[in-house]
């Protein structure tokens, strides 16, 4: 299956966001809270809505140290796109053999999608937090004490269900919306890697 533009948008958005997280600049709570986070993995499903169409697939995300690897799969599980990132380089390979390379994720969004998306907050949003250092972020708590909505950098993040994973409560259902792009994520499995190298 060819990756649709909608699915590509989601992939590039997610990868650029998560990839911009690196152990060289961890948020303070990752260092002092439950112990430093060396990396994380999640596998889940995503659905994308854009005026150009909808699409759905599976995502398998793995961040370890400064390396990021992402597989985007069709609902059946065949690989649609694969991404690898190091601090120097981002490489995106599609199942029809189209390839994209860029020095960083932000520039990759430009060349794949034709426009840039502000993405830096994603590694925090996906874990239910606002990205630090931004006084304009609004976090609206729900009745259960977990964030219900988060508004930051032009994105509206809505949280559904939560799950306790290794002492941390993490979202399992969330949607990210900016203008006419909506990405829904359902995370089936979270894995956190703790401790320092």
């Amino acid at each position: 299956m060819k990756a649709s533009q909608a699915l590509l948008a989601a992939l590039v958005f997610l990868l650029a966001g998560c990839a911009s997280w690196s152990p060289t600049s961890p948020p303070a709570d990752q260092v002092t809270g439950h112990g430093a986070l060396r990396g994380f993995r999640f596998s889940g499903r995503l659905a994308v809505q854009q005026p150009e169409g909808t699409d759905t697939g599976k995502i398998e995300w793995s961040s370890h140290g400064t390396q990021v690897h992402v597989d985007l799969l069709s609902p059946f599980g065949s690989t649609v796109a694969q991404l690898d990132q190091t601090p120097q380089h981002v490489h995106l390979l599609l199942s029809d053999q189209r390839e994209y390379s860029a020095p960083d994720a932000e520039q990759l969004t430009e060349s794949v999608l034709g426009y840039a998306l502000p993405l830096d907050g994603l590694p925090w949003w996906v874990r239910g937090r606002a990205a630090p250092g931004d006084g304009t972020a609004r976090l609206i708590p729900g009745q259960d004490g977990h964030p219900e909505q988060l508004v930051q950098a032009g994105w509206l993040v809505r949280y559904g269900a939560w799950r306790s994973v290794g002492g941390e409560v993490l979202p399992v259902a969330l949607s990210l919306q900016r203008e006419s792009l909506t990405i829904r994520l359902h995370i089936d499995q979270w894995t956190l890697e703790r401790g320092s190298e």
Partner: protein, 209 residues
């Protein structure tokens, strides 16, 4: 080699080929019989996705596959989470209750991506793939199907037939990732509920074309 010996050689070769063909129905014959004789059917499936790097079993899922030629199918995952994929002849519908979204696609654009569409087609396999015998193993006769274009997302597909029907399917994608599907409890021409191959979006689901 003189002329006489050449004739003997050719004759022996022909005899060998004939006897080899007559001895068993190869994978290609079984595939043709499956497509021609099984106009509709259903089977349970268990699917295992193998990681490209480790070759180890990743996720396992299972459910029910139903089809009616030409091109109508229902591929329903029941475990580990429910997900319904329906091809009604024109449109591919994917419904994921956890994501609360219905995705619609033109079936012609997504044929290669779905084992169900490959299996439910009238001539999808012959049209889209180069087919060849791939020997015997695990008590099955195998066919190797290589896509004619890269668009399918698969490098190769193997189909394993037992005496009566399709038993296994192996899909190798362009990234070294393998999907293994085992079919069981195969039923020919079962009675289908009237809406089996129609998809009606459930209340509360987002449907955007």
């Amino acid at each position: 080699m003189n002329l006489k010996w050449r004739h003997v050689g050719a004759g022996a070769l022909v005899a060998l080929l004939l006897s080899a063909q007559g001895a068993f129905a190869g994978g290609l014959d079984r595939l043709r019989a499956f497509v021609q004789d099984t106009k509709s059917g259903e089977a349970q499936f268990t699917q295992t996705n193998l990681s490209a790097k480790s070759g180890q079993a990743g996720s396992t899922s299972s459910g029910l596959f139903q089809f009616s030629r030409p091109g109508r199918f229902r591929w329903e995952y029941l475990k580990p989470y429910p997900q319904t994929i329906v091809g009604d002849g024109q449109t591919l519908w994917i419904w994921d209750p956890d994501l609360k979204q219905v995705t619609r696609k033109k079936l012609s654009n997504s044929l290669g991506s779905t084992p169900a569409a490959i299996l439910a087609g009238d001539n999808a396999l012959e049209k889209g793939f180069s087919l060849q015998e791939d020997g015997q193993s695990d008590g099955l006769e195998w066919v190797l199907a290589i896509p004619k274009t890269r668009d399918s997302g698969f490098e190769r597909v193997r189909l394993g037939f037992d005496g009566t029907s399709l038993a296994r399917m192996e899909l190798h994608d362009n990234f070294g990732h393998t999907i293994l599907i085992r079919f069981s409890g195969f039923k020919m021409a079962p009675h289908f509920a009237p809406d089996t191959f129609h998809f009606t979006p459930p209340p509360g689901a987002d449907v955007i074309q």
